[in-house]
């Protein structure tokens, strides 16, 4: 579970259905700062052990099912290397 | 293109050089002036503060000259014709962003009503001692265009010419007046708007997807894109490639700075504006600019009465310097005589071009007054022997 410090359970959480997101990491653009990993409210990410082209450890999606497409990782990433999309949008995109 | 009649105060006027320059800017289509008060140039700003609201112009008095030059660069990118006006100390403060204007290739005009220096110097008295500063004052290598009027009428005419040159070649153009010209009152004839030729902004005809902000045309000058039309261009004071992106290496520096120099040097023949009298059979040629050219008139007359063949070359364009002409003339004459209100600035260029082929004689002093024609006459007489 995510660190409770960063995630407050909304009062109406049983009524509202959380959206589902899919996270994309543009690995070679990442500079391994760890912001997304640290602050993702759902603990979706960890820094991988593998290196990218630049020698940084990009994040790895370890709990894809938990992602709520909250956009935090996209906004907090200083490198424009990670983002999430709403699952429905992705289906639209499929050829 | 003809001048916008809104800005043209057609008629015969009795104006000093500062006011005439302000009218020149109005007529040339300048619609933005950011300035800061400084003697002896303030009257230009004052006149525009009065006139601009009635011709669709914006005048803003900035917090200092650093801000004035930055604001006119911004407004020029915004698509207006812009100018600022100052004197020595303010000119010194503007130097860094004059370099930015050169690097970004930003059309604008800087009027310097010269006074005695260094430092606060002689705020109310004339000098011509910023001529080399106009040429070299900002750091780095570049070429500049500078004009020098010798009457209120020319303050009007040359301000228009300066604005046009800045649009044609996309660079800051300097109008180097002096306190004497700035405060001298004479007849100024302002023609009809349709008699004034205006160089319009060189807007690009490229589409945004193929446009490169620093791709030169045949005359080595790139075309400008308007803001907000999808060009989404970038421009920087850093060394840049044709996309306008910073590329910090020797190769790009050569290409970038090389073209900034070439666009002035290779077009110099079209830029020169010179006044020539009796050069063909001259033994002595008087080279002058600005107020010194007028003070020299009686000296030349007196020397001719003595039978000395004196030719006259007046540098209306001081920069770029007419190197080839001076080289050519140097072979045929005994000497050049050059009065300047400084201890020798533009005369250094003359000496360089002459290369020892004839004598050069500076008639200079530290400023605060114009020459005594007698001193110029004496110099002519001495070198003619």
């Amino acid at each position: 579970m995510p660190d409770p410090r960063y995630w407050r359970k909304p009062f109406d959480s049983d009524k509202v259905k959380s959206p589902k997101g899919v996270v994309y990491v543009i690995k070679d653009r990442c500079k391994g700062c760890g912001f997304c990993v640290e602050f993702c409210p759902r603990g979706v990410l960890v820094l991988s052990v593998e290196f990218n082209k630049k020698g940084y450890h990009p994040p790895e999606v370890v709990h894809p099912d938990r992602c709520v497409n909250c956009d935090l990782c996209e906004r907090i990433c200083p490198e424009f290397a990670i983002y999430s999309l709403n699952q429905d949008e992705i289906i639209e995109l499929a050829p | 293109m003809h001048a916008d009649p809104k800005g043209v105060l057609t008629g015969t006027h009795y104006l000093d050089g500062d006011h005439a320059a302000a009218e020149g800017a109005c007529a040339a289509g300048c619609r933005f002036l950011a300035g800061y008060p400084i003697t002896p140039s303030t009257e230009v700003a004052e006149r525009c503060a009065l006139r601009f609201p009635m011709i669709g112009g914006t005048f803003i008095q900035m917090e200092d000259e650093l801000a004035s030059i930055a604001a006119i660069l911004g407004a020029s990118w915004g698509g207006l014709k812009t100018f600022t006006v100052t004197s020595g100390p303010g000119f010194s403060l503007m130097m860094e962003n004059i370099g930015l204007g050169i690097m970004m290739e930003c059309p604008c005009v800087i009027i310097n009503v010269q006074r005695g220096g260094p430092s606060t110097g002689l705020p109310t008295l004339p000098a011509q001692a910023d001529m080399m500063q106009a040429r070299w004052g900002s750091h780095g290598d570049y070429e500049i265009i500078a004009l020098s009027p010798n009457s209120p009428q020319e303050c009007f005419d040359l301000t228009i010419e300066a604005v046009n040159l800045s649009e044609q070649y996309r660079l800051p153009v300097m109008l180097m007046m002096d306190e004497c010209i700035g405060h001298m009152t004479e007849k100024v004839v302002i023609p009809l708007a349709e008699e004034i030729d205006i160089v319009p902004r060189r807007w690009t005809r490229e589409k945004p997807d193929t446009y490169l902000p620093y791709k030169p045309c045949d005359d080595l000058v790139p075309e400008i894109a308007p803001l907000g039309y999808g060009y989404r261009f970038h421009t920087t004071g850093l060394t840049h490639d044709q996309r306008g992106y910073p590329v910090l290496n020797a190769e790009t520096q050569e290409e970038c700075v090389g073209r900034l120099m070439d666009k002035v040097n290779k077009n110099a023949e079209n830029i020169y504006h010179l006044e020539k009298h009796n050069l063909d059979d001259a033994d002595v040629i008087l080279i002058s600019y600005g107020i010194s050219s007028r003070v020299a008139i009686p000296a030349v007359g007196k020397a001719r009465e003595d039978g000395i063949k004196v030719g006259e070359l007046r540098l209306i364009t001081v920069w770029p310097f007419p190197e080839n002409l001076i080289r050519e003339l140097a072979g045929n004459i005994k000497a050049f005589v050059m009065p300047e209100i400084n201890y020798g600035q533009v005369v250094l260029e003359v000496e360089r071009c002459v290369g020892g082929k004839c004598k050069t004689r500076l008639v200079g002093h530290a400023g605060g007054w114009v020459h005594d024609p007698e001193s110029i006459y004496q110099a002519i007489k001495e070198v003619a022997q």
Binding site: I26, C33, E74, A81 | A71, G74, E96, G228, H234, Y245
Partner: protein, 296 residues
Amino acid sequence: MTVAENKKTIGNIPEHPKSLLLRMDRMPHIWCSRCGIGIVVGCLAAALEKAGLSPDDITITSGIGCTGRVAGYVKVDSFHTTHGRAIPFAVGLALSRPDLKHVVFSGDGDLVSIGGNHFIHAARRNQNLLVICVNNFTYAMTGGQLAPTTPVTARATTAPYGSFENPFCLPNLAISAGADYVARWTSLHIRRMTDTFEEALNREGFRFIEIIAPCSTIYARRNKLGTGLDLMKYYYENSEIKHDATAEELEIGFQTKIVVGKFVDKERPSYARAMNRHLGKILGKKYIPPEVGGPQ
């Protein structure tokens, strides 16, 4: 931009959703790992989108320094000017193109040290500018010198024994110079920062938003504060939202509490509006409002 519009891919995945607002051909940018500047750029891009603005509705002007490089990474008409002169340059842009929105995006040293005079006068005149200042308490690009924002006792290369000079508190400076809209967030406050940008973009007059952000490589390291990530955690623990904070509460000491919020939100006529109104009143029919630049 919606996903469907973003046809570009990178590898086998769609390109980043903000890629239409950024110069992806210039990525990776020059900022260090764990630097906060990129976050602020991303939030501005998000705010533009939320505010329903097209990249052709705005210009961005920067000065010099690490944050000064922002203008080079945003895909709008953008100007990378000289040290300290972003504001007066943008004043010229704003007065010649009042139909566009003009953003100045620069660092603390650039905006309030070398450019300090321009800052207060643009605020005083209420020029139509949104000024975003990334404050990392140091001159980062030149290697970590003392800034006008460096907290007392913090170290810099030119204050090797720690600073003993009083720093500027930027919101206080902006407020006392008369700014219409003043806010401060840290680079951790991504949502509030984005919302504030969005709100400020649609307002008139001088708007100032300070973003406290980590300089990981220089400031954090020299002051033994860990990395940018540690500073982000520090902001989490130590920032307090207080919209009605007093001037004293807004001061920032070395690793003290950081009070954030929107402190001023008022409406005065902008310089351009005041000019039009006043001159129109005095000159009547003789007044011709300023020409707008661009092809006729």
